[in-house]
Amino acid sequence: MRMTMKTAVLLTATMLAGMGSAQAETLRLLTWGGYAPENVIAKFEEMYPDIDVEVTLSNNEEMVAKLRATGGAGFDLAQPSHDRIYAPQLEYDIYKPLDMSKIDTSVFEPKLLDGVKANTTIDGEIYAVPHQWGTSGLMADKSKAPDFKSWGDLCNPEYKGKTSMRLKRTILLGTAYSMGEDPFATYSDLDAYQALLDKVVEKLSACKDNIKAYWKGGDDLSAMMLSGEIVASETWDSTAYKLYNENNNIVFVPPETGALAWIDTFVIPRKGEADDAAYKWINFVLQPEISQMMSESTGAIVAVKGGKDLLPDHLKAAVNAAFTDEDINNLKFFANIPPGVEDMEGKALEKIQAATGG
């Protein structure tokens, strides 16, 4: 019995030692679908043969939830949007400050870098740098809904039963803008924001009859739009661009109050174990030729200088069909979500979901 025990200990020790030395470093990436395409990973692993890239696909909410569950362990690099860094870090302490000296900041589009820095600096430490950006707005089938142009049109009886939206915070904010309010400005006064939310809830609850169904992901939205079951919807720009390639009548429509712009960032989880590899990945994917591959895969614009020019041709066409320069100047960047707002917005969404007959 004693003998066996000793052997077991020895065995375990050997195995642990083996794992430490012989195995290549692993970069565990927590990111969005399309943000780590096969060809990019292959090139990266070619350049750094001793780094293995492991990808876990997720979305904003789940990224934060996953990191919160482990206190920031389990992943070495994550990509939440720029508005999902400040409050979660304050509440759950799940990120690590970045060592900016290890990132080649010269490649970034300065406006975007500064914007992200401003949003994610806590106690003088910077927690995130931008990676890709895009917008949330509307899309419409021009042949069936030529005059569709604002968030409010989703509730226009003219399109009764032919519109859709996702029941998430984007629609709350968009609707607030369409009502002539500036939700981000009211973030500082939570009581005022609650009052605004109440109005939005009322409006969207009344609008429920007008929409066909709430979409849940890019797939069901695309299917409804392509089949003609709906003629207009709230959407991610990348989904709209993809549909534009299949049907040129379907275009992204920046709402007249301005499309909502998001920036997906790079952050390092607090208990990340491969910081060097993470910095290597950040610098790697910001190179122009890699950025091009990235845009091809995601349909979003990389936050480097001249990022828009790196878009593949078909996307450029879709973007040009959608945006005028005026539209671009009118972009509304998602503001940092202060602590407590997630909860208020969550409850507002629940109220809408449960409204009438629910």
Partner: protein, 289 residues
């Protein structure tokens, strides 16, 4: 080591996986959830012990509304699964030959071969406005306009019944299998007609199976997530979705945990009432089949 110790040791070893399973996967997470659900958020990274998360549920009509809705829909699904499953089980247990029997069980298993997601997408393809059923109906001239069968409660119920069928049929079949054919013949022989035999003999005999199937189906349905979310319309909401939203969208783990417990308590309550009403007990139903 004498023989008694050896036997005791092997007994412990045999029991170990089950004990570990219960402890690590059932007990510990629930304790964790229980503790979590009793924390009140005061400020960022500051919590206090309290029942606020539970009180929130009862003071906010939306939540118990959705809970009641989930319970009612689950009961409808259970009832439908029973009504459809009973004759099928009777056929499998009492009429079908061994080969048909295997084939029938296989058919019931098919829905479980594919993942929840694929199954839901299958239903979406069939039921949507531009989907297969609508298309066929238009082609046969039964309807002139496309018809939307998706995004409503009926779609959710159909999808769920399809999924849980097997869990109703297996306990029912195994109970009815144990029923001596002569019991049914005796029922006729003593003057009962088909309805009397069904009502007074077959159903009472199958009651443990009915109850255990219903409990399993009800629990599965009330706890399901993907099917109601994907097939449900704008007015459909399911309590699991609310829990998910609390955890993921609202970062509100505390009330998510409380809601999870409330769902557990509530479904257990429904099961308990069902057992009381039918005069059965857990040991005579679920434990038996």
């Amino acid at each position: 080591m004498n023989q008694r110790d050896a036997r005791r040791l092997s007994l412990i070893l045999l029991f170990m996986p089950f004990a570990l399973w219960i402890l690590l996967l059932i007990l510990l997470p629930h304790i964790g959830m229980g503790v979590l659900s009793l924390r009140e958020k005061i400020a960022p990274r500051q919590y206090e012990f309290g029942f606020d998360n539970y009180i929130e549920f009862f003071t906010e009509p939306i939540y118990w509304h959705i809970m009641a809705r989930t319970a009612i829909m689950s009961l409808i699904v259970t009832a439908l699964a029973l009504v459809i499953g009973f004759p099928v089980s009777y056929y499998i247990a009492k009429i079908a030959g061994p080969r048909t029997r295997g084939a029938m069980f296989m058919f019931c298993l098919i829905p479980l071969w594919v993942s929840d997601l694929i199954r839901a997408f299958g239903w979406i393809l069939l039921l949507r406005e531009t989907g297969v059923i609508s298309g066929v109906l238009q082609w046969t001239g039964l309807i002139s306009e496309p018809i939307e069968l998706l995004y409503n409660d009926a779609a959710v119920i159909v999808g769920l019944v399809y999924t849980v069928m097997l869990f109703m049929i297996v306990p029912l079949t195994s109970t009815m299998d144990g029923m001596d054919d002569s019991m049914i013949e005796a029922g006729y022989n003593l003057g009962g007609n088909g309805l009397t035999v069904l009502r007074r003999i077959i159903i009472p005999y199958a009651m443990p199976g009915i109850i255990s199937g219903s409990i399993i189906v009800f629990m599965l349905t009330a706890g399901s997530y993907l099917t109601p979310v994907l097939l449900g319309g704008k007015y459909s909401s399911w309590f699991t979705q609310t829990i998910y939203d609390q955890f993921i969208t609202r970062y509100n783990w505390e009330s998510g945990a409380a809601f999870g417990f409330l769902l557990l308590i509530f479904t257990s309550l429904v099961v308990w009432i069902g057992l009381k009403l039918s005069g059965q007990s857990l040991s005579s139903t679920v434990a038996r089949s």
